[in-house]
Amino acid sequence: MLQQVDRVEGLQRVNDFVVKFANVNGSGSASANALFAKSVLRMGVAVTPRNIFPSNIQGLPTWYEVRISDAGYLGARGGGVDLMVAMNPQTWDQDVASIEPGGYLFYDNTKPMQPSKFREDVVVVGVPLTRMSNEAYRDPRQRQLFKNIIGLGALAALLDMDVPAIEKLLGEQFRNREKLIAANIQALHMGIDWVKQNLDDPIKLKMQKADVVGDRIFIDGNSAAALGAVYGGATVCAWYPITPSSSLAEAFTNYCNRMRVDKETGKAKFAIVQAEDELSSIGMVIGAAWNGARSFTATSGPGISLMQEFIGLAYFAEIPAVIFDVQRSGPSTGMPTRTQQTDILSCAYASHGDTKHVLLIPEDPYECFEFGALAFDLADRLQTPIFVMLDLEIGMNERLTKPFVWDDSRKMDRGKVMTAEDLEAGKKFGRYLDVDDDGITYRTLPGTHPTKGAFFTRGTSKDRMARYSEEGADYQENMERLLKKHGTARSFVPPAIIRRGAEPAKYGVVYFGSTSAPIAEAEEQLAERGVTVDLMRLRGFPFGDEVAAFIAEHELVFVVEQNRDGQMRSLLINELEIDPARLAKVVHYDGTPITARFISGAIADRLEKSNVVPMRKVVS
């Protein structure tokens, strides 16, 4: 029986609310959820979905939170949910509790619920999804899947979504399978019709067509990074499955199967090996790169830990390698399906002995693609491991992002590789001879020349001609040159992006990676509280001169990051020798993506606590 408890005036919003789907893992809800998000996108409205899922295959709760924003905000908003689509009895109480006052609860009312299970300050909308589905379908799997589509139809009607757009999406999803398309459209309309016949427009959250999306595309960061690897010319991928990075290697496999199979012979212009562990993955990457193939691995924190010894070898023996680190909450297994930026230090200084590595830090799928391709040029150019630092938030969620671009005249930068012709022409070759005074030396690839250019690669100390040496002077000269090379890397790493206000601000905010999504919104919230800030987004390590300059020109700089210890702040202090008092730590590390509300709250509170007078005085 219909249960509509309508005691409150619901929130009224257009194109600006948060919908959360509470699902059971493995129930087939993911595809209907994604359809919902993409339908919003097709209406020209900015949409940002996030998967919230446990480390589990089937049965445990999952959530899909969709932020719809006409202002174009892509960060998690924080706070309660405006519309909860509660499909999981297991998490009912917690889901109902998370609704904003005045928000909406959408649920399957096939079975009656006790009145005590509802809240008086939310609008409850019940639709008998299971009953409709069971009446229409016999097969249990069909009942489950079409129930999701009936639900989507009901929501579409309730929120005034563009139904033809959803139908078109279904047509694209099941291209050339006309029966499936028709069945899905039928289920969709079952939901729409029921709402129209039985409900009197209970939800005041509405969708309207807009033009916020532009030419942007919708893709997850792992796929974008994998595509970057394809365009970066990677031919060897060795990996070991680990959440949240597995989908990067799998996406690379899919793209290669589509774009890298020789049309005439059907043979692969790539080699992908699922290794026995992360040690083996990085070993293969190093072996392949030593032999002149562009190679990479994708992993997460525990994998980085396992690779430490090999990373030291690649640093010291100067072998290119690209490592995509899709960060998750550590230490140990930590929260393997939750996001964090927590491997900054373990990558920047990976391995034993004195090491410093190059990091690229993308903010979104567009940069995952850009930096994904760039990483291979840098690895060859600098002959060292390059880390591309994603996180789960970027890697595993579809995000609205600028369309990818490629310049067809672009060539792979293979760095300083001496060829047989060079050697034949009498060019002097010494593997660790710094002929250009930039710390980067020439290498040769195995098999190059019958009598010239062979050398021995080793993790032990050596002299400039790559001969084993335990002489202190040889060792030190080599270590100093490696430091010089790291300095040279500064000119290759993408510089920080700085945004200053019209007038000089006293405070600066440093952030990076997935924190960029909520930053614009946080800045506006700060402005409302009378705090003006300048912004600097770090995009890599080593830091360029602009980073130290930005910090120097502000009285106090907030370093916003998603880990407990303020790892980027430590790196800044350590590398730029900055007085720690000048860098304030703003850390968010509960595994959920950082929100604008958190950032603005933490910064404003801190300033108020230290009795700093706001830039714009509030006149009473």
Binding site: D215, R216, I217, I219, L227, V230, Y231, G233, T235, A238, M259, R260, D262, T265, G266, K267, A268, K269, F270, A271, I272, V273, A275, E276, D277, L279, S280, S281, I282, G283, M284, I286, G287, A288, A289, W290, N291, G292, A293, S295, E309, L313, P403, F404, V405, W406, D408, M412, P446, G447, T448, H449, P450, T451, F455, F456, T457, R458, Y468, S469
Partner: protein, 351 residues
Amino acid sequence: MTFIPKPKLHHPDLQKNALGYTRRDYEGPVSTLCAGCGHDSISAAIVRACFELDIAPHRVAKLSGIGCSSKTPTYFLGASHGFNSVHGRMPSVLTGANLANKDLIYLGVSGDGDSASIGIGQFAHAMRRGVNMVYIVENNGVYGLTKGQFSATSDKGAKSKRGLINSDEAIDLVGMALQLGATFVARSFSGDKAQLVPLIEAALKHGGAAFIDCISPCVAFNNHEGSTKSFDYVREHNEAVNAMDVITPRSEITVDYAPGTVEMVTQHDGSMLRLRKLHAGYDVHDRVAALTYMQERAAAGEIVTGLLYVDPNPRDMHEHLKTVDVPLNVLDEAALIPGSAALDRLNAGLR
């Protein structure tokens, strides 16, 4: 300094192979291992095998892990690129190198500590992937560089130089290689050059994962009474199942053998292995029987040597991966990068 180059002066009458190289062109700098070390004999056998097979030195990539055995690639094939990698991880580095360029010959040199202890996982997985390589374990049953600890291939009951008795079971890498799908498996003894050189030659000519377990006594720490890896012990207990010659198009057949005692095995590349059977019932093509035989003879205290198993037509990793015919490391932008038009289409599908 521990790098000792050898003088470049050659005797003018030094024999040359088909490529015009002398034996000296396959050597490296002077070994810094102990005088009399079995490993140096294996290096010499590698030099001779490459010379006799007319392999251009620069077409070989030699890789190793860490330990005495893993130092040896410095001491042979000085014109080859070498890679002394991480302890127990040579197999992954070699696998990666092979992925990048399937046209080179990959020679992996490891030890019993490097392959049977810290690197047993990588050893196992390289075998099961069918990496086209020659993988030699210079097996002395002892950690030499760290002064004489037992390794995982030390036999149960063997006595260390300090008088300790090993109470752990030995790991038999030959048995593992057989079980894990290596397509060429042999065991030899560094003191038996006549057996070892042809085995290395045959392995170099093999197109899949070739494994040679070479017992190589450690003169410093494991050559005493009570050791089961000493020169004397191995000589006394060595039971070769066959003797082999590798016949290349250049070599002449000079000796006739009684019918039934010789088997010719033609490998995929056309090289022929002439096997003289020393044990009448032994079949080099029966993986299961080989495993049983090895275990029976080991229980009887024998060290079985010779070519133990060969699949003359192996499929290697690249065949499994269906890679293109040219090495991946020569593919250029035109071959690898789908271009802006493909990217635009992709963008369009993501809206």
